[in-house]
């Protein structure tokens, strides 16, 4: 295990009674990136996060954060880790600033000096003296991020941080995460909002039923997806009949605006277009289907389901 990776796990396992929550989990998270951690509800995302933070103990395997073993060196390691697990909790009767003081007291004297900068960074300076009980869910999420920043973190672990945020809040958080990674920090982001992970993260891992089934840079995760073309045309039925048996087409199906085809070979799109135009079918749009993480995620997780 090397320190070029901020998180490394090997053979990690955890059971709750008879039910395995995490099975032989090997995860590598490189430093200074936004890393998405994807999985269905109950797939094992939060269990892994809780084990990393020492909130619950693994039954097998080993974990390292910043090259140090946890839970053995947990106290030292977590000094530079900020985390929101599931959702940030606060004392509702205290103000935002006082809640940060509670967390700063546990972290040590340096953290207290970071309260004001952290509040400024999440845009809560003006509301810092209001009781948290009056905060919206989005403001609590931002205060949770501010609490993470008290650690001057090398690693931020954010569990579903987009929950409760409006579109403006999501955009702000995305910008903030980009800023944090630009500073050399690592953001480990667990989310079910796949589109957001795709927009926010450089790399990701997919967990399904306690096992990591894919991990790597987002571009690599999407690379092996088959290319498809959406073709908008005037007569979709005739177009489908023409293309169904065409040698440049591996598969074809009707869509509301025309057909979707899987071309064969690099010049498949040109051949398909020529065939349609030659048959007198006007093609108004021919566009590659966007490789989405959501689609890839569903393919990966459903294939695991099929296998079992």
């Amino acid at each position: 295990m090397t320190t070029t990776n901020i998180i490394e796990t090997r053979g990690l396992g955890k059971r709750f009674g008879e039910r395995p929550a995490v099975i032989d989990l090997n995860l590598t998270v490189p430093r200074a990136c936004a890393f998405g951690f994807l999985g269905h509800n109950g797939a094992g995302k939060t269990t892994l996060i809780r084990m990393l933070l020492g909130l619950t103990s693994p039954d097998a395997g080993e974990m390292r954060i910043a090259g140090r073993p946890v839970p053995q060196d947990r106290a030292v390691v977590l000094q530079r880790v900020g985390a929101i697990v599931e959702e940030p909790h606060f004392h509702a009767h205290l103000t935002g600033r006082e809640n940060l003081r509670v967390a700063a007291a546990a972290r040590g004297p340096a953290a207290r000096g970071r309260i004001e900068p952290a509040l400024r960074r999440v845009g809560l300076s003006d509301r810092g003296d209001d009781r948290v009980g009056t905060y919206s869910q989005g403001m609590r999420q931002r205060l949770g991020v501010a609490r993470c920043l008290l650690a001057d973190p090398e690693l931020l672990i954010l569990d579903e941080p987009m929950n409760g945020l409006d579109p403006g809040g999501i955009l702000e958080l995305r910008t903030m995460i980009a800023g944090l990674t630009d500073e050399g920090r690592t953001v480990f982001l667990s989310s079910h909002l796949l589109d957001e992970v795709e927009k926010t993260c450089n790399a990701a891992a997919v967990i399904d039923r306690g096992r990591i089934i894919a991990q790597g840079p987002i571009s690599e995760l999407l690379r092996d997806q088959r290319a498809e073309l959406d073709i908008d045309c005037a007569d979709g039925r005739t177009a489908l009949d023409l293309l169904d048996s065409h040698p440049s087409v591996a598969a074809a199906q009707r869509t509301p605006d025309g057909v979707r085809v899987t071309p064969v070979g690099a010049d498949g799109a040109a051949a398909i277009n020529a065939r349609l135009v030659g048959a007198g079918i006007a093609v108004s749009r021919l566009q590659p289907v966007h490789d989405s993480l959501e689609r890839r995620f569903l393919e990966l997780t459903s294939s695991v389901g099929d296998a079992s």
């Binding site: 020492g54 106290a75 509670v102 967390a103 546990a106």
Partner: protein
């Protein structure tokens, strides 16, 4: 953990308790308001029928008020505040976030009792000040307590506060539930103990009751119905201080956050 960090952690724990307006209001009502009502009502009785009712203040009123503060109303305040200190982190979910800072769970537990004791002592100090004021202002020419008795009484009330607040912190940390802790601690101390002290067939088993030991050290006239030796009383109080604290510390260290 350095002394500076420990001090700051206790300070924010005190802040967290005293900022809880509902808690402080109930604590104030249970000790300060009740003592004020006790002297006010006694003063009215004396004013309306001096032949049958002694002056509210003086040594007589002081003794009643000290006993009420140490064993009943001030004790309720201490248990209420101790329960809040012992359970709030877990009940609010903040415990998880504090554990995630890397600070040891034992340290997170250890700061609760000093904070609860400090807040409890502050509230009951105000109640004791009201007691002293009323004792002298409403003495009506009767004898007043000596400085020595006043100091001993203040110390005894503080002792009751310390033990009961720490007991509630320990049980609260063990259960993690306000309602269960309040029911258990107040139910045991205020109801079950009072019943058990009257069951003579239990014999010396009753010496293990905390109220019997606290009563033994009470500096003002009167008793709680059971006499125990001072040495036994000290051992019993130590046990009531240590056992719940050990249980609370163990559970805090083992609890899944």
């Amino acid at each position: 953990m350095t002394a500076a960090i420990a001090w700051e952690m206790v300070s924010v724990e005190v802040l967290r308790l005293r900022r809880n307006r509902a808690l402080m209001a109930f604590a104030g009502v249970l000790s300060i308001v009740v003592i004020a009502l006790f002297f006010g009502y006694s003063a009215l009785q004396h004013a309306s029928d001096p032949a049958h009712h002694a002056p509210a203040g003086g040594s007589h009123g002081f003794g009643h008020a000290v006993k009420a503060l140490g064993l009943y109303f001030g004790a309720l305040t201490a248990m209420l505040i101790g329960t809040e200190a012992g359970t709030a982190d877990v009940a609010s979910g903040v415990f998880r976030d504090l554990v995630a800072t890397g600070r040891s769970r034992l340290a997170l537990f250890a700061v609760r009792a000093p904070a609860a004791i400090a807040v409890s002592l502050a509230v009951n100090a105000v109640a004791f000040a009201v007691t002293l004021g009323a004792t002298f202002l409403l003495a009506g020419g009767t004898a007043t307590p000596s400085a020595s008795l006043i100091l001993q009484s203040a110390g005894w009330i503080a002792l009751c506060d310390v033990i009961l607040a720490a007991l509630a912190v320990g049980v609260g940390s063990l259960t993690g539930s306000r309602s269960v802790t309040l029911t258990a601690v107040i139910g045991w101390q205020m109801v079950a103990t009072m019943l058990l002290m009257n069951v003579r067939s239990l014999g010396s088993v009753r010496d293990g009751l905390l109220t019997a030991s606290l009563g033994q050290l009470m500096p003002v006239p009167g008793d709680v119905g059971i006499r125990v030796g001072t040495g036994v009383a000290i051992l019993v109080m130590a046990a009531w201080l240590i056992v719940p604290a050990a249980g609370g510390a163990w559970r805090t260290c083992r609890r899944d956050a």
